[in-house]
């Protein structure tokens, strides 16, 4: 089969798969709903995730690097290219650093939980003209059991750089960001896994994630690393957007307005002068919402019953 016909076949398959998936999830105004494989339990996939197995270092600088990487891992704009435009982040394929058996991207995935990392859909630079999706690996590993060495100097950084710039056609990552992503992946260790495999996704956990990104941004600024700080602001905005998507209920309109205003404020700081105190103040304001946020859970799209209702399931 020549390359053009291979593409046409791939495209036809993708179109059919997309049509089926969209019909199922069209009622959900969520980016994440579009990456769920047809036939999978949408409510479960959207409202639960694996526990993050993160071994945070004690050293403050090393810990900051992990936090920078953790936030960047959740920001689609880090990847750039097509991924950024559709809202795919590292965490879309690697949920909390694990594999994602529910993942399905039209044109990139074959079986659920697979992706073709050498496709023209995401980048011409690694396009091999073949439709060859492979299982998405978990990044949570035991020492010495990694595909990419986590101990050889620069190996992981080089791999992640290639992934961003070549596999996803993204912009050149700032040094602090790249180091952070590598530090985060190194900190995903199986010995850090505690508790049952999957747990519910909580609104308050998502707010904590955003607060951690703002905190990392403030700390990066204090160290003079403005590029990493701006990346943290970008991540905080993206995560605020993902959070607002989960709050479509009419009675949550004031919360949406407030969170959007916060994102706009972060955007203004991202584009202009910003101090560590600015980000610390925003973090404090955000954490001040936690008590209210805990009451959003049951009417949000973090709640399986609410998702089922929107999907029209009895």
């Amino acid at each position: 089969m020549d390359r053009r016909n291979a593409y046409r076949l791939l495209i036809a398959v993708a179109a059919l798969a997309t049509a089926a998936a969209v019909a199922r999830t069209a009622a959900l105004p969520l980016s994440e709903a579009r990456w769920i494989a047809p036939g999978h339990d949408v409510a479960r996939a959207l409202t639960t995730e694996p526990r993050e197995c993160l071994a945070l270092p004690a050293d403050p600088d090393a810990r900051l690097a992990v936090e920078i990487g953790r936030a960047a891992f959740r920001d689609p704009l880090v990847l750039g290219g097509v991924a950024a435009r559709v809202g795919l982040a590292c965490a879309s394929c690697h949920r909390a650093g694990h594999a994602n058996p529910d993942f399905h991207f039209p044109g990139l995935s074959g079986a659920p939980g697979t992706a073709d990392t050498t496709s023209a859909i995401t980048s011409e630079r690694r396009d091999d003209g073949q439709f060859n999706p492979r299982p998405i690996p978990s990044l949570v590993t035991d020492a010495g059991d990694e595909t990419i060495s986590r101990t050889r100097t620069g190996a992981l950084e080089q791999f992640i750089h290639g992934l961003i710039v070549e596999e996803f056609d993204g912009p050149e990552p700032a040094p602090g960001l790249l180091a952070g992503l590598a530090a985060y992946v190194r900190a995903l260790r199986s010995e850090a896994c505690h508790g049952p495999g999957n747990g519910p996704i909580m609104v308050t956990d998502r707010i904590n994630d955003i607060a951690r990104a703002l905190d990392a941004g403030a700390r990066a600024l204090a160290l003079g690393d403005r590029a990493s700080a701006r990346a943290m602001m970008s991540s905080a905005r993206s995560m605020l957007g993902a959070l607002v998507e989960r709050l479509p209920a009419p009675d949550l309109a004031p919360a949406r307005v407030e969170l959007r205003a916060m994102a706009i404020e972060i955007g203004r700081l991202q584009a202009g002068p910003v101090s560590a105190a600015d980000l610390t103040g925003l973090r404090r304001r955000l954490l001040g919402k936690q008590a209210a946020a805990s009451t959003w859970q049951t009417s949000s799209l973090f709640d399986a019953g609410t998702v089922e209702t929107l999907l029209g399931h009895p």
């Binding site: 593409y7 046409r8 791939l10 495209i11 036809a12 993708a14 179109a15 997309t18 049509a19 998936a21 969209v22 999830t25 069209a26 105004p29 969520l30 980016s31 994440e32 579009r34 689609p76 704009l77 750039g80 290219g81 097509v82 950024a84 435009r85 559709v86 809202g87 991207f105 039209p106 044109g107 023209a120 859909i121 995401t122 980048s123 011409e124 630079r125 396009d127 056609d169 912009p171 970008s234 905005r237 993206s238 605020l240 957007g241 993902a242 607002v244 998507e245 959007r260 994102a263 706009i264 955007g267 991202q270």
Partner: protein
């Protein structure tokens, strides 16, 4: 190494959540066929095609007359209006509409073919032969942009030669306007763009446009392909139409802004960036990329 802006299913899927969350705008939930209801003109076009397909020609004519008033530069709306009038037995009215379609888009082979077929049905064989000559010329000149040109020529030739089947087979041949055909053409265009095969991509996008009418995703990428081919006027026209149909369309705003950078209109590019920044409360790749074009730090062309 030169790099190129990649479009993709992004396209298709772009912005779902982010667009909804960012702008309170429509949720584009996938391929163009999935988002027709989000755009008034595309939804009207879909309803009109369904009416023609169901033999409800009066309803179709009413819808298409409204659509033509709304998007007077849309050749496909004129073409479908011709089909509706033909279904009503209004051959002069159909001829006017098909000719208007060819006037707006000289490469609209279906409109040329239908023009000739209506002329045959009206008994004006001289006019039909002249139309056939024009159709052949268009097929010869428009290359990869015009798919299935030979089949169009053969059909009109058969009708002129007295094959009534070819002449009468004009009422319900709307398979090209099905959602599945349109989505497949759109995805094919995406892959062709990523392979830098722009003329072929344009042919696929024209098929998608024939299926879905004035859908902003398709108009945006027709604009993009025209820009890559150096046809800036046509690119601008399509971006403007996309933004008229969907003022919050992030891709159209970004690519129109990039075109303005290419043409040296930095103030215009900044105005579009300002629009994107308003649309993207939570940040978006489109604003980031246009900002890089304005700053001169983007990679690619």
């Amino acid at each position: 190494m030169a790099r190129y802006p990649f479009i993709a299913i992004a396209v298709a899927m772009a912005a779902t959540g982010l667009m909804a969350a960012n702008a309170g705008a429509v949720v584009n939930d996938g391929l163009p066929g999935d988002s027709l209801s989000d755009y008034d003109d595309a939804a009207t076009y879909r309803d009109a095609v369904a009416a023609i397909d169901g033999g409800r020609f009066a309803q179709a004519e009413k819808l298409l007359t409204e659509l033509v008033a709304q998007v007077p530069a849309d050749a496909n709306a004129r073409f479908m209006l011709g089909k509706a009038r033909e279904g009503l037995g209004d051959l002069p009215g159909a001829l006017t509409a098909f000719q208007a379609a060819t006037g707006l888009d000289a490469h609209h082979l279906r409109a040329w073919t239908e023009t000739g077929l209506v002329q045959v049905k009206s008994g004006d064989l001289a006019a039909a032969r002249a139309t056939l000559a024009t159709l052949k010329s268009q097929v010869a000149n428009c290359g990869a942009q015009c798919a299935n040109g030979e089949a169009s020529v053969a059909r009109l030739e058969a009708a002129i030669a007295g094959d009534k089947g070819a002449a009468l087979e004009t009422g319900h041949d709307l398979l090209f306007a099905s959602g599945a055909a349109g989505d497949q053409a759109y995805l094919a265009a995406v892959a062709l763009i990523n392979q830098h095969r722009y003329e072929a991509a344009l042919a696929s996008l024209r098929e998608a446009e024939a299926a879905f009418g004035p859908h902003p995703d398709i108009l945006t990428y027709i604009g993009f392909v025209n820009r890559k081919l150096g046809r800036y006027e046509q690119a601008e026209g399509h971006y403007r139409r996309a933004l008229a149909a969907a003022p919050a369309h992030r891709g159209a705003a970004e690519y129109y802004g990039e075109l303005k950078v290419v043409r040296g209109d930095m103030a215009g590019a900044r105005a579009l960036l300002a629009r994107l920044e308003t649309l993207c409360s939570f940040g978006c790749a489109e604003a980031d990329e246009l900002r890089r074009w304005i700053d001169g730090t983007h990679i690619g062309s």
